[in-house]
Symmetry: C2
C-alpha cells in the first residue's frame, strides 16, 4: 500500500499528462462528425494498456465506435476481474457556459475541469493506472481484463453484440466499473442500485409548411401547442405518470427498506441550494431520495419547434419535437415502457397532426446484493482509504449496459465510483477533484487484494 502511494507521488505529473492527452480527444459519441476522434481515443487507451504490460491489447471495430480490450492472466485458478469503462463523452454544449475550453483540461482549485474529466475518462483512467502500478510493483493478485467502449453516452448499441461474440474471452467473476458518485470523502458510499432508462424522441407534424399565424391561427392545429398538451398530459398533478401500464412492473420497496434508506445522511436544503432552485418537487408521497432512488420518472431532455431566433416571427410552425426520457426501477422493461409511451402519445394526439416517435435507447434498472465478496471487497477498500465504512446508495442515474452484462455474460457488476455530485457530469464545467482521482487509484488495488482473499476464503 505504501509502495502504491509512493508510486503515485513519483509519477503524478506523468499520470496527469496522460489523462489530459485522453481528454483532449473530443470523443463525443452523439456526433457523427466525431468518428475519427473515437478511433483516436480507442487507440490511445490500447497503447496505455499495452505499454503497461497488458496482453492482447487491441481495438475491436464494431458497427458503431470501436471497443478496446486488453488482459493480464496470471493464474487460471485465481479470480478474474473484468474492468468496464467508456472513452466517449457527452456533447459539451452549451459551450458559452464553460469557464475554460471543455477539451483543454485546466486545473483550478484542485479540480480538473474538462468534458470527461470525471465521466468517464477520469474514472476509467484510475483503473489503467492502478493496473500499471500493480504490474510495476509486482502486486497484481489476480487476473484482469479490460473492456472499454465508446458508445455509453449514446446507448451502448454495439457492446451487447461484442459480449455475445467474445463471451469466452470476457469470462470473469466480477465486472468492476467506476462511473458513479459517492456522497463525499467524509461520507463514502458505493452505488448499490441504478435506475433503468427508456429514451424516446417524438415529432408532431401539423401543416406541411410554416404558416402565417395570423391568417391561419385559430383554424389550423398548432404542433407546438399540441406537443405541449401531450407532454403536459404525461404526468398528473401528483407527479404520477399517466401512461397506461407504466407502473405495472414497478417494485414497491417494503416499509423497512424505505426506513433504512431514510437513515442515509441527507440535507434537502443543501441539495436544493446545490441545484439553485427555490423549491424541490417530488412525486406525491415520496421523499427526494426516494424520488431519485426507487421511483421511476419522466423528463423532457430537449424540446424544439418553430422560430427560435431573435425578435418576433409570426408563424404557426409545421413541426415540433421533443426528446423524452423515463428513468425506470426494477422490474420495468425499457423497450416495453417505450412502446407504452409511444402508443399512448399516438392515442392522445388530436386529429390534424401526425406523430412520429422512436425509441432511441435504454436499459433495465440494477440492484446489487450487499452480502457477497464482490460488494464486501469494495466496502473494505473504501473503508481503508476514507476511514469509514461506505453507505450503499441507490442512485438515480442509469448504466443500462449492466443489465446486459448480467444477461449475456452472467456476471454481476460492482459500481466503485469516486465522482462527486458537484462534478457536474453532463453539464458545463464538468470537473473531477485530484483528491478523488488519486484516492481511486489507491482504492482499486485494495479491491483486487481483498476480493482475491475473500474468494479464496469462500
Amino acid at each position: 500500500m505504501e509502495r502504491i502511494k509512493n508510486y503515485i507521488e513519483t509519477n503524478r505529473e506523468r499520470f496527469l499528462g496522460e489523462l489530459f492527452g485522453l481528454i483532449r480527444i473530443p470523443s463525443v459519441s452523439a456526433s457523427e462528425a466525431s468518428k475519427p476522434d473515437m478511433i483516436r481515443a480507442a487507440e490511445y487507451i490500447r497503447d496505455l494498456l499495452s505499454g503497461n504490460g497488458a496482453d492482447r491489447a487491441a481495438v475491436y471495430p464494431t458497427e458503431g465506435n470501436p471497443i478496446v480490450y486488453g488482459e493480464k492472466l496470471i493464474d487460471p485458478s485465481l479470480p478474474t476481474i473484468l474492468v468496464y469503462g467508456h472513452y466517449d463523452v457527452m456533447p459539451a454544449e452549451p459551450l458559452d457556459k464553460w469557464v475554460s475550453n471543455p477539451f483543454e483540461p485546466e486545473i483550478r482549485d484542485g479540480k480538473i475541469y474538462a468534458r470527461g474529466a470525471d465521466d468517464d475518462k477520469g474514472q476509467l483512467f484510475m483503473h489503467l493506472k492502478a493496473f500499471e502500478m500493480m504490474m510495476a510493483t509486482d502486486t497484481l493478485p489476480c487476473n484482469v481484463k479490460f473492456m472499454i467502449e465508446g458508445e455509453e453516452e449514446a446507448g451502448s448499441t454495439s457492446i451487447a453484440g461484442f459480449c455475445a461474440q467474445y463471451r469466452e474471452m470476457l469470462s470473469s467473476d466480477v465486472i468492476l466499473i467506476s462511473d458513479t458518485t459517492m456522497i463525499s470523502s467524509d461520507t463514502p458510499s458505493v452505488t448499490s442500485g441504478l435506475r433503468g432508462l427508456s429514451y424516446i424522441q417524438v415529432e408532431v407534424e401539423g401543416p406541411d409548411r410554416d404558416l402565417h399565424s395570423g391568417i391561419y391561427g385559430g383554424a389550423v392545429v398548432n404542433p407546438c401547442n399540441v406537443l405541449c398538451d401531450i407532454i403536459s398530459g404525461l404526468k398528473d398533478s401528483d407527479g404520477r405518470i399517466t401512461i397506461p401500464g407504466f407502473y405495472d412492473e414497478v417494485a414497491v420497496p417494503s416499509d423497512e427498506e424505505r426506513a433504512k434508506m431514510a437513515e442515509r445522511p441527507f440535507d434537502p436544503e443543501k441539495y436544493r441550494k446545490s441545484v439553485g432552485v427555490e423549491a424541490l418537487a417530488s412525486e406525491k408521497g415520496f421523499s427526494t431520495l426516494e424520488s431519485t432512488g426507487i421511483r421511476p420518472t419522466l423528463d423532457v431532455n430537449g424540446i424544439w419547434g418553430g422560430y427560435t431566433g431573435e425578435g418576433a416571427k409570426t408563424i404557426l410552425p409545421s413541426k415540433a419535437s421533443a426528446k423524452i426520457s423515463m428513468r425506470l426501477v426494477p422490474f420495468q422493461k425499457a423497450e416495453k415502457i417505450a412502446e407504452l409511451a409511444i402508443s399512448h402519445i399516438k392515442s392522445v394526439a388530436p386529429a390534424g397532426v401526425k406523430i412520429k416517435a422512436e425509441y432511441l435507447h435504454g436499459g433495465e434498472a440494477y440492484v446489487s446484493p450487499l452480502d457477497t465478496p464482490e460488494y464486501l471487497a469494495a466496502e473494505r477498500a473504501y473503508e481503508e482509504i476514507f476511514g469509514k465504512k461506505p453507505i450503499p446508495v441507490r442512485s438515480g442515474g442509469s448504466i443500462p449496459i449492466i443489465a446486459t452484462f448480467e444477461k449475456i455474460l452472467g456476471v454481476k457488476s460492482i459500481l466503485m465510483g469516486f465522482g462527486l455530485e458537484s462534478d457536474a457530469i453532463h453539464s458545463p464545467n464538468e470537473n473531477y477533484p485530484l483528491e478523488n482521482l488519486f484516492a481511486g487509484m489507491r482504492a482499486i488495488p485494495l479491491y483486487y487484494k481483498y476480493y482475491t482473499e475473500m474468494k479464496a476464503a469462500q
Copy 2:
C-alpha cells in the same frame, strides 16, 4: 387606362429588374446583423421615388430602421393619399425548405419566388410604379405621399414616433396599403378587417445549470415540462383561452353579421388540403372563417429548451423558452392582453422555477366601414380590373400600425392587397404571381382617379 396598360407592356423587363434589385437586399428586420441592408433597402426606395419625380424624397433615420418619405403635391385643394408599405422582410429560415435562394428571385410558372416577393416588397413596388406611370402619363389626379418603413415584421417600433414628429408633413385624407390578400382573381376581395396582435416571450428557469436527468430526475422541477404545462393550460379542451379577463373586451358579432360572413365562397376541404393537414380544428362553436376572422386565438410561434442535437443527451435542462402570440379582435388592447397573459403565466408557475416574460410587440384590431369614398373607390377599381365587385373580408392577420395611424394621424386606412393565400408569405418559397403584380399596378391609378372624383362629388 389604355396608356397605363401600354406603359406596363413597354417597361415590363425594367420593372422586374428594379423589383429584383430590391428583393436581393436581405432586409430581415428580426436580425441585428441586417442593419446595413436595411439602410441599403431604404436608399434603394428613396432613389426610385426621386427618380420618378417625387419631391422631398429622403431616408429618415430612427432609433431602429430608417423610414423613407417622398411626396408629390399638385394642388392643396385636391385630396391627399398617403401610401404606406414596408421594405423589411421576415427571416427566410428554414433555408433548406426553399427550392431557390430566398434572396435571388426566380420566376417559375409565372410567379416570382423570393422572400419579400409579395410581403411587402412586391406589393409596395406596385405603388412605386403606379406613381411613375401616373407621372409619366401626366394622369396623377391628386396629391400623394409615401411613407415606407423597415420594422413592420418586427413590431413597427419607430413609426409611431415618426408619425407624431412629422404629423403635419404626413397629413392626408386616406392611407393606402397593399399588404394583404384577396381570395382569387375570380373572386376579388378587399380586406375590411384585421386582427390585432399581442406577442410575448416566456422563459422558465429551473436549476442553475443543466443537470443529469438520472441523478436529479424526479426531485428537481424540469423547466421544459413546466413550460409545456403552462402552455397546455392556456387553452381549455374547447379551444377557449383560459387567461382570466382575456375575453372581457371581445366584440361579439350579431347573428346577422355572422350570417353575412358565411355567404363568402369558402371550401373548407380545399382550405384543409392547401395546408396539408388531415383535419382542421377551431374553437368550439365557430366556423373556420369565424375562427380566423372574428375570434381571438393563441399560438406558440416557437419553443426551445434543453438538448436538441442528434442522439440522446440525458439532461434535466436549466431553461426552456417559448414565443407565444395572441391574435386579437375589436376591442381587445394588445398591451393589456400581454399583461394579463404574463401575470396569469406567473401565477400558475409552480414553486421551483422562475418566470421571465416580456411583451415583444403588438397592436389593436382594425375594421373598415364599407360606405365611405375611401372604401368605395377601392371597390370600383377592383371591379374594373377583375370584372367583379370585390367581397369585403375580415382577415386573420395583423397590421398593428393601422390602429396607430388612426390614433396619431387621425386617418383611416384602406387595405388594397393583391396577394393570394398561396403566396406563402412568412413561409419558405414565398411567391407573387406576375399577374397580380401587374393587376395591382393597373388598379392603383384607378383608385386615385375614383377616390379624387368621389371626394369632389361629396
